[in-house]
């Protein structure tokens, strides 16, 4: 192992990226824009406006139910009007004059049962689910006021951290990990592919450099940028710099201000281990690519499953049981878990769950570094 050669490789990789402005933008600006946008959407997402039309098919008793429901809906900020029949309700929803139709079934007339049908458009299932749940809340409220009992209050506490309504709290650790992985993989994969196709790898391998030195030099070079990227992203995610009102500008703050309970330094270690694995993964996968487009084509195969199965978007606990063994082999899963352990639980190195995450990430990084080194000398024909 020659320190001089490793340093020369490291400096070369750094010089190349330093002069590559689009790559720098990809590394440092894209994650900030995307996390900022995601945070804004999650925090500022509006409760959808409910415009209900009520159809009563149950005579006088139905009218009582309808007026109680209508009152509860108006209490919740909804607009409520009555229409003659279901066809009129459907037409109103189709014309976007109403967002939900409430049909009080004929059985309400008997008093022995009560069927309420909610009608929605059907084009936007997740948005319409909130319409239906608004109807549900109104039913509970109407029933409790009819019976004279208060709606029970559910209090929520957590073992780790404090429950928060800030949706970004669990999302921020996952997204920091994912970005580090994603961008480092793309940059290393494309960069190493250029080595292969541009003839520089052939020339490099005609020197006494060892494959291990190449992998270490690359890992240090891209590791440096991954480290800076994570540092910038963490400052952005955790920091919150308040800017007071200036002239016509309202006061605003820079940074997402995500609460973190553990040591940011430890979170850093988790991400750096993940990024080291991503460098080797990029080198390894460049073996199977002939063009830069093919490096991009590996994203759906290699990165998309990790994105879906590592708790970035969907909680791991909600994934089908048949997928759980697959989750267990996703490197990103351990990084996301490790980051959540640090961010939310405030875990230190004494916590076994975090120890496991760090150990798995270290083993994965070592594994990919080894196979990357072994595949470097594959013939470029």
């Amino acid at each position: 192992m020659s320190r001089r050669r490793v340093v020369a490789l490291f400096r070369r990789v750094v010089s190349e990226i330093r002069r590559d402005r689009p790559s720098l933008a990809l590394l440092f600006i894209a994650p900030i824009v995307i996390t900022g946008l995601v945070t804004f959407i999650l925090r500022e997402s509006q409760a959808p406006q409910v415009t209900a039309v009520v159809v009563n098919l149950a005579g006088t008793r139905g009218q009582l139910v309808g007026s109680a429901l209508g009152a509860a809906l108006r209490e919740g900020g909804a607009t409520v009007s009555d229409v003659a029949d279901e066809a009129a309700a459907r037409a109103a929803i189709g014309d976007k004059a109403a967002s939900v139709g409430i049909v009080i079934g004929t059985d309400a007339a008997t008093g022995s049962s009560l069927t309420i049908t909610a009608i929605t458009n059907g084009l936007d299932p997740s948005g319409e689910a909130s319409q239906v749940s608004a109807v549900g809340r109104a039913v509970v409220a109407a029933a409790s006021s009819a019976s004279g009992t208060a709606v029970p209050v559910i209090r929520h506490t957590t073992v780790y951290g404090t429950p928060t309504n800030d949706p970004i709290t669990t999302f921020a650790p996952a997204i920091v990990g994912f970005f580090a992985y994603f961008f480092v993989y793309i940059l290393t994969g494309v960069s190493f592919l250029r080595e292969r196709t541009g003839g520089t790898l052939e020339r490099l391998l005609a020197t006494p450099v060892t494959r291990g030195e190449v992998v270490i030099g690359y890992t240090l070079g891209f590791g440096l940028f991954a480290t800076i990227q994570v540092a910038v992203l963490m400052l952005w995610a955790l920091g919150s710099l308040h800017v007071p009102a200036l002239g016509p500008l309202p006061p605003f703050s820079i940074g997402l201000g995500v609460a973190v309970n553990g040591s940011p330094l430890l979170a850093f270690v988790v991400v750096v281990l993940l990024a080291v694995g991503a460098v080797s993964l990029g080198i390894f996968l460049s073996t199977f690519a002939r063009t830069e487009l093919q490096i991009i084509q590996f994203i759906p195969i290699v990165l998309a499953p990790q994105f879906l199965l590592s708790g970035v978007l969907f909680p791991v606990s909600s994934l089908p049981s048949i997928l759980q063994p697959v989750v267990a082999i996703m490197p990103l899963n351990y990084a996301v878990d490790g980051l959540r352990q640090v961010f939310i639980r405030g875990a230190d190195l004494g916590v076994p769950a975090l120890q496991l995450d760090l150990a798995v990430l270290a083993v994965v990084a070592a594994f990919f570094a080894t196979i990357a080194a072994l595949t470097i000398r594959r013939d470029v024909v």
Partner: protein
């Protein structure tokens, strides 16, 4: 008479710089290099001539130890290839430029110097001076002309002053003036004791070599000086000689 492993009179006393012994490289059913044996004496320029796809590059890669042979072996300066330590005594100019476009001329030279274990900035400066790139040291390689890139590529192969130099089609895309300069560099290096193997498919470069090896379908079909080969084939035209020695009928232009 066996054309392969023809004993060489000049420098016969010194051990060969490069040896190939029954060298074979197969890619599936294709034998890219098919049982090649030769000794190359130090301090001479050998021209490896043959059409595209005849196996020249594969032969050079085998000699430089960049790919393991299917059978036989190669020796450079008495060491059997592939040998990683021996690579510091070999210079290899690839067919592609093989330089980093985002780096400056000087950064490329220093980088490859460091890979060969060369210490200090002086060898890089000397190699760039040799190919007349000293005044472009600070230029980003991506902004250079094709000929300048080719010169840098040569400089990167010379930086560690290797006693053995493999040049894979070094003059492709090089203008006539620069080509003359290249060949005078090669001659000066050979005079100083460097053994040079140059591959080319341009026959007009052949007469600048001390000795020619005609490669066809992975075999050496003829070896000798330009004059010897012409005499053997009975034609003054090397191109015709190549076709005749390869068993083709004459192609009259």
């Amino acid at each position: 008479m066996s054309l392969q492993a023809a004993p060489h009179v000049e420098g016969a006393g010194s051990p060969p710089a490069i040896r190939a012994l029954g060298l074979v490289k197969s890619f599936g059913a294709l034998r890219a290099v098919d049982n090649i044996t030769f000794d190359l004496a130090p301090g001479r320029i050998y021209g490896l001539l043959g059409p595209n796809g005849s196996g020249k590059t594969t032969l050079i890669r085998l000699l430089a130890g960049l790919t393991p042979p299917t059978a036989g072996w190669a020796e450079v300066l008495g060491t059997r290839m592939p040998s990683r330590p021996n690579l510091s005594r070999i210079g290899y100019m690839t067919q592609a430029d093989g330089v980093y476009s985002a780096l400056t001329v000087a950064e490329n030279a220093r980088f490859f110097g460091a890979m060969y274990g060369v210490v200090g900035a002086e060898p890089a400066a000397a190699a760039l001076g040799l190919v007349d790139l000293a005044d472009r040291r600070a230029s980003i390689v991506g902004t250079l002309s094709g000929g300048q890139r080719r010169r840098l590529s040569l400089a990167c192969a010379l930086i560690h002053r290797p006693p053995v130099l493999f040049l894979d089609e070094p003059t492709v895309g090089v203008d006539p003036l620069l080509r003359v300069q290249f060949w005078s560099h090669f001659r000066a290096l050979a005079d100083a004791g460097t053994t040079i193997v140059v591959s080319s498919h341009v026959m007009d470069e052949a007469d600048r070599c001390d000795e020619l090896l005609f490669v066809r379908s992975g075999k050496i079909i003829a070896r000798g000086t330009g004059l010897e080969i012409r005499a053997q084939a009975g034609t003054a035209d090397l191109e015709q000689a190549f076709l005749r020695l390869g068993g083709d009928v004459d192609v009259t232009r």
